[in-house]
């Protein structure tokens, strides 16, 4: 097999922390072919899932709001592929990608998004609250930073039960300025919990750029406050993400405590349902689109002769079909029974 690397992202390159310490072992090469291909599949699933959700929004079927993950797929897929099925993740408001990567049923997700009774949360949660304990997913969260404490708790459970599981806590750049970020990183560092903070730095928290919300260049520099390891990586390069998370996951499993990974990435769409995007230029968006994480990975797979262009096309087409089927499933699903409104408040 020909030596081959994912194309570099010029915008990201200049911001990277020196990765050499963590790259000693390329773990990606050890993956089976179908695992490598599965990553592409997942990325397509996320991309087309979100595209259909966008249609729901346009058609007015999403009554409240929701947050699209288009452009950020490599983060969820790379990170989650690097851990085990029984490792927990905690997600945030922009959580569809994490669910899909962790193996949630896209039919039930789609149904939830349009408020159907057979959706993941019986229609009670919606986009910002999809959780799926079967796939070890602690759920999205409508409160920025809200899931961070939960992630600490899950990691503590692992420790107390002497399991070697790790937890990935996905957070956004904006959430790193919220108090619970600090408390969670600190407490988990004191307790040396198996916890990977994966920060999807998509350059903005709603309209507020990193430069307007912090006084530092690299969020991973915050590791200094907790005496932990941390690194800034190309979050649009799924192979890098996989390699780094898998390296750190192993560290975590051996009791070395939490780590902080900053994946540089970009949100292609507006923040949520309504966003005229006055805070950034079209140019900026276009520039980033040139580093589409899916295209970069697909090119890599083809150049590395892991799959052919035709196979890639087939994967993409299948994803489109799967998602259409999910839309169909959701559309045909029944609305919740009104009696359900007051159930599930308390457990027996």
């Amino acid at each position: 097999m020909k030596e081959c690397k994912v194309r570099e992202c010029a915008i990201i390159k200049k911001k990277l922390t020196d990765l050499k310490d963590y790259k000693i072992v390329d773990r990606y090469s050890n993956l089976k072919k179908e695992e490598k291909v599965e990553m592409l599949k997942k990325m397509y699933h996320i991309r087309y899932f979100e595209s259909e959700v966008e249609q729901f929004i346009l058609k007015g079927q999403i009554y409240g709001t929701c947050h699209l993950y288009i452009g950020e797929e490599a983060n969820a897929v790379g990170a989650i592929t690097a851990i085990r099925k029984d490792d927990w993740i905690a997600s945030h408001h922009r959580g569809h990608g994490h669910c899909i990567a962790k193996g949630s049923d896209i039919n039930l997700m789609m149904a939830e998004l349009i408020g159907k009774g057979n959706g993941y949360c019986k229609g009670k949660g919606g986009s910002m609250h999809i959780a799926d304990l079967h796939t070890y997913n602690l759920g999205a969260n409508g409160i920025v930073g809200g899931g961070m404490g939960v992630a600490v708790g899950a990691a503590l459970t692992n420790k107390l039960k002497k399991k070697d599981g790790v937890v990935i806590c996905f957070i956004g750049d904006g959430s790193t300025n919220n108090g619970i970020f600090h408390e969670s990183l600190n407490i988990s560092s004191v307790w040396k919990l198996p916890l990977i903070y994966y920060c999807e730095n998509n350059q903005y928290g709603m309209s507020t750029s990193i430069a307007n919300s912090t006084n530092i260049e690299r969020l991973s520099d915050r590791k200094a406050s907790y005496g932990i390891e941390g690194v800034t990586i190309d979050g649009n390069n799924v192979v890098d993400v996989y390699n780094v998370v898998s390296y750190f996951a192993e560290q975590c499993r051996t009791g070395k405590g939490p780590v902080f990974i900053e994946g540089l990435t970009y949100r292609w769409r507006g923040h949520s349902k309504h966003d005229s995007q006055v805070y950034r230029t079209k140019d900026e968006v276009e520039q980033w689109k040139e580093y589409d994480p899916i295209i970069r990975y697909k090119e890599f797979l083809i150049e590395s002769e892991i799959i052919t262009a035709d196979e890639a096309k087939a994967i993409e087409d299948q994803a489109v079909k799967d998602i259409k089927a999910a839309v169909d499933f959701a559309d045909k699903s029944p609305y919740p029974d009104l009696k359900e409104v007051e159930t599930d408040v308390y457990a027996d």
């Binding site: 009554y63 949660g125 919606g126 409508g142 930073g145 408040v345």
Partner: protein
């Protein structure tokens, strides 16, 4: 004088006080160029600049704390918490700092600040973006809590809130913001409506309906229908401010009608209207000729799915039914 929405009226109020008083400034998440999550502060950044319209990081505690500290030292901050649900992230600063500083310091400080925030359900935002938390705020001594129901009141009450020397929680209902149905003629310039004074929004003699914010509109609708269809004549009392509470206007109304129905969107258990009913009982037991009732939100989080959400919240229909039941006409 022009016909404007609730949201525009509040923006107008902000603009007026900012023009008049140098010590007023805004802070909050994405309130600058972006104009706020609901667009309420649109244009203010351009007009007043980044020093007086301050975007913040996502740091609810620090934002509220900053407002408290600047208020004590001579400013009149107006801060936006995007959704009232997020006040949980800065609760200590509200409950233990803003509300108590004056008292703890033996009356030696003033904390003139307004915390504005979008409250209530009905917009499909789900459990973390739809709560009606007025009962929590209202229980804390030191806070004032304002819940306007229409554009005219919103502007006048807002201006009063800014000039009040206490921390004011200004709860704006997201379903009122842009709804043209509730647009009103609102005077230009500065005018004030006193905090702590309710208003009879519709006089009537058969039953007193007490409500605030969006529920006033729903109650008025129900009252209209009942008048037209059944000649039932409801009085609708808008509390406008729930702390201080204008108990007199309620007692006055109940004296006339002998019947009290309270309408609120919050979960009924431990709700604010429990306080209203209790005070009416304490002060006007003999005025009532039937047990007062509450039409309130069900005792669960506000669900996401539209039909569940409607089921959870009070509606014109439920208000109507409640009244008919109470009057024995169902």
């Amino acid at each position: 004088m022009s016909e404007i929405t609730y949201l525009e009226a509040i923006r107008d109020a902000i603009r007026e006080v900012m023009k008049e008083d140098e010590s007023v400034f805004l802070l909050g998440e994405d309130i600058g160029l972006y104009g706020g999550s609901f667009g309420l502060t649109n244009g203010l950044f351009a007009e007043f600049g980044s020093e007086r319209v301050k975007d913040t990081p996502i740091s609810e505690s620090a934002i509220i704390g900053t407002a408290v500290g600047s208020a004590i030292t001579g400013m009149r901050p107006i801060l936006e918490i995007m959704f009232s649900d997020f006040t949980g992230c800065g609760w200590d600063q509200i409950m233990n700092q803003a509300a108590k500083i004056r008292y703890m310091f033996g009356g030696k400080a003033k904390v003139p600040m307004v915390l504005r925030t979008a409250s209530g359900g009905g917009a499909g935002f789900g459990p973390h973006h739809s709560q009606s938390l007025e009962a929590l705020f209202a229980h804390i001594p030191g806070l004032k809590v304002v819940m306007p129901s229409n554009p005219y009141d919103a502007k006048g009450l807002f201006i009063s809130s800014v000039y009040d020397n206490n921390p004011v929680i200004f709860l704006e209902h997201k379903c009122l913001y842009k709804n043209k149905k509730y647009a009103q003629e609102v005077p230009d310039g500065i005018y004030t409506i006193p905090l702590g004074k309710g208003e009879v929004k519709r006089p009537g003699k058969d039953i007193s309906i007490v409500a605030s914010s969006y529920m006033v509109q729903k109650s008025l609708e129900a009252a209209e229908i009942l008048q037209k269809d059944m000649q039932i004549n409801c009085e609708v009392v808008d509390l406008r401010t729930i702390r201080p509470l204008d108990i007199d206007i309620i007692l006055e109304s109940v004296k006339k009608t002998g019947k009290l129905m309270c309408v609120e969107e919050a979960c009924s258990f431990g709700s604010f209207m429990g306080e209203v009913i209790t005070q009416v009982i304490e002060k006007g037991f003999d005025l009532l000729d039937a047990p007062p009732i509450r039409i309130a939100g069900k005792n669960c989080p506000v669900p996401y799915s539209f039909i569940l959400e409607q089921e959870m919240l009070p509606s014109v229909e439920k208000i109507k039914d409640g009244i008919l039941n109470m009057l024995g006409k169902n």
